[in-house]
């Protein structure tokens, strides 16, 4: 709250310096605005940026450094016997001090020393805040004054402002990339800890998955098995069933909508189809559990087949339904991007509509369609909610769609839900699974985007 007020103050300061810079430029031009290199407002922006950006950087740096500095200062003033505490106890103490200081309510302090330290901490915080505001104001004004000195008619304010805009844009994109890299690294490091306990080849090629660790040495069935193959096959089986549903239905729907449908029908049907994509996956999940699974089990029973109530088939079908709009929408786009001249060329030779679609339009759109399907596969592999609700939990190595299988995503969820110790291979294995999942979907996405790009280049 306080920080927000400070930022508003800075904004107001920048805004007023904008006015100052602008009028300085106008005065320097002496009524002949033509001699100014840039529009007057650019001089204003230049001054405002010099005021705002260094001061904003100062605030960010200050807020980042403040806890560490205050902690060091507080530890220094602690009584000697408390300073000698082991690091973990010391952290607890500092946490309590911070808690007390932030509320300003010392009734629940664990002792008189704590209370004294907390009061001191609070006082230091107050000083720090005042110092920050003072520093910000003086830096802002100093920056503005520095920029104002440069305002002359020949000064290239526009170029400087453009440069600042560009730098800001670069910063935003770099930030996005850095976050991605950070996520990958965190996955990687946790996975490395896992692979230090369980060998990589056992994880990648082991046929049995049972991530239980012994609590006591003499516990029965205590050895964990971390062979991820059943999870991969389970994921592949469900994704395969999903694609078997989604690709034909989605592709044929796209062909109908793009090539055959009346424009009025298309205007209604396309948004309706795309509405499927807006249904929350949780809803698909209970659709699978409540409707599709019992139906398939009943159907199987009437045919004397044993169908598990958490069968891969039911899960795959529902996931396929979820992916239909994905496939149809992407295919529709690429089919519509096939130039009309190709269709006319084909019709003019006397080809029927079906011949034109099958032999000219689809082959021309094929790279784009394949790219769209690959993107859909990567969605199926990464899909979590439906499988958590509808697929099984135990890992079976089977290709039978009537049996229950489990997937990589289901295991990650079950391994991490609830309170977990983060040093056991059981929990760490989730990160290894996450890493593999990420690598697979990343590879699929890269291939798919390249295929789509190649196709675009051909006609644009």
């Amino acid at each position: 709250m306080q920080v927000l007020l400070v930022l508003l103050l800075l904004l107001a300061l920048s805004a007023s310096l904008y006015q100052v810079g602008r009028s300085r430029a106008l005065r320097a031009a002496g009524g002949r605005t033509g001699i100014l290199h840039s529009l007057p407002s650019y001089y204003g922006y230049y001054v405002a940026l010099w005021c705002g950006i260094p001061a904003a950087i100062l605030i960010v740096a200050w807020l980042a450094a403040e806890p560490t500095v205050l902690r060091a200062m507080v530890i220094n003033v602690l009584p000697a016997e408390l300073q000698g505490l082991p690091p973990a106890r010391l952290s607890l103490l500092i946490n309590e001090v911070r808690q007390l200081a932030s509320t300003g309510d010392y009734r629940f302090a664990s002792g008189p020393e704590t209370k004294a330290v907390a009061e001191q901490y609070r006082a230091l915080q107050g000083i720090s805040f005042k110092a920050m505001v003072a520093g910000m104001l003086s830096l802002g004004i100093a920056g503005g004054a520095f920029a104002l000195r440069a305002v002359r008619p020949s000064f290239r304010a526009r170029n400087m402002v453009e440069g600042a805009v560009q730098a800001f844009l670069i910063l935003s994109s770099v930030l996005a990339i850095l976050i991605t890299v950070g996520i990958v690294l965190s996955l990687l490091f946790e996975s490395l800890r896992f692979f230090a306990i369980v060998p990589l080849n056992e994880f990648l090629f082991g046929l049995s998955w049972s991530p239980q660790m012994a609590i006591r040495a003499d516990q029965v069935g205590s050895s964990g098995a971390f062979g991820a193959v059943p999870l991969f096959t389970g994921t592949l089986l469900i994704s395969l069933i999903a694609m078997l549903v989604a690709v034909p239905v989605g592709l044929l729907a796209a062909i109908y909508l793009a090539e055959y449908a009346d424009p009025r029908f298309r205007a209604v049907a396309k948004p309706l189809l795309e509405m499927l994509a807006g249904i929350p996956t949780v809803v698909y999940g209970f659709f699978a559990v409540v409707t599709v699974s019992p139906f398939l089990r009943g159907l199987g029973a009437s045919l004397h087949l044993s169908v598990s109530s958490e069968s891969a088939l039911a899960t795959g079908i529902v996931m396929g339904v979820m992916i239909i709009p994905f496939v149809s929408s992407l295919s529709d786009d690429v089919i519509c991007a096939v130039p009309e001249s190709l269709r006319h060329g084909s019709f003019a030779i006397g080809a029927t509509q079906a011949e034109t679609v099958m032999q000219v339009v689809i082959p021309a759109a094929l790279p784009g369609i394949v790219g769209g399907i690959l993107l859909a596969v990567s969605r199926a592999i990464g899909e979590t909610m439906i499988v958590v609700m509808a697929a099984g939990l135990s890992a079976h190595l089977t290709a039978n769609p009537f049996e229950s299988v489990t997937t990589v995503t289901v295991q990650i969820v079950t391994l991490l839900v609830g309170d977990q110790e983060f040093d056991s291979p059981k929990t760490l294995s989730a990160f290894a699974l996450g890493l593999i999942l990420f690598l697979v979907t990343l590879a699929l996405n890269v291939v798919a985007l390249n295929v789509v790009k190649k196709y675009r280049e051909k006609y644009d």
Partner: protein
């Protein structure tokens, strides 16, 4: 109408007869009461300013106007005395008899061979692979492209130059042995050298086919055609021997157009 310009018509065989042809695009009256006879084994050029209806008329002859929403054609058009707007006429068969070459070369994203073989395949013109190959080679030869591509028949047709692509499209059109070939500004996307080749080709093709070519280039009309029809604002103003149209037109509008005073 001015198609009877005092010259004996009986000497040549009439291939296409259009009578009182009107075309409407939704509310727009794009072609107004056109009467035109097209002689067999000649090149007929359709000229006129943009939007005058010459391409619209061309598209009536293989019923490509059917593909345009809201387009309506009235009147009669007959090819070899057979009305092509009869209700039970098979458009697919008609388009096999009346080939078309478009303004912009539009080879399919297939190999050169498959581009030419496309028509014969869908119409079942070749019983064996050898027959199909013969049709493809003959068509490419007739289109004057064979020597340039004979070593790379399996490469993509889209990789050829613009002029080669257009000749590939002509080979594709003649591979189904049409009787009439319609060309809609076939050289407008080509450079002068490629244009010269295609024009030469049009002149040769005349021996075996009846050709109707829409063009914006007066020189092209004069070079390749025997008959010229001049369209203006959806009406057929004048039709006659090319030489007569270009040297001694009957109509003031025609004269204005060919001397470059408007259009």
């Amino acid at each position: 109408m001015s198609n009877s310009d005092g010259e004996p018509v009986a000497s040549a065989k009439i291939k296409v007869v259009a009578r009182d042809v009107n075309v409407f695009y939704s509310d727009k009256h794009a072609l107004k009461a056109v009467n035109l006879d097209v002689r067999a084994n000649e090149v007929t050029a359709l000229i006129g300013p943009s939007g005058c209806g010459k391409s619209t008329f061309l598209r009536c002859l293989n019923r490509m106007n059917d593909l345009i929403d809201g387009a309506r054609v009235t009147g009669t058009i007959a090819i070899d005395q057979q009305d092509i707007y009869l209700k039970d006429l098979d458009v697919v068969q008609l388009r096999a008899r009346v080939g078309m070459v478009f303004q912009k070369p539009n080879p399919f994203p297939k190999s050169i061979f498959d581009n030419v073989a496309y028509g014969p395949r869908i119409h079942g013109l070749a019983g064996t692979g050898a027959e199909l190959e013969e049709i493809v080679v003959t068509s490419l030869k007739r289109a004057g492209l064979f020597e340039e591509v004979k070593d790379r028949l399996n490469e993509a047709g889209t990789g050829l130059s613009g002029g080669q692509q257009q000749r590939l499209c002509i080979a594709r059109a003649i591979a189904v042995s049409p009787e009439v070939i319609l060309m809609d500004e076939p050289c407008s996307a080509l450079d002068p050298i490629a244009t010269a080749k295609v024009e030469e080709l049009i002149d040769e093709l005349r021996q075996n086919y009846t050709i109707i070519v829409v063009t914006h280039s007066m020189q092209q009309a004069a070079r390749v055609s025997q008959r010229t029809a001049f369209f203006h604002l959806g009406e057929l103003v004048e039709v006659g021997d090319t030489e007569q149209i270009f040297t001694n037109p009957n109509h003031k509008l025609t004269q204005g157009y060919i001397t470059g005073r408007f259009g």
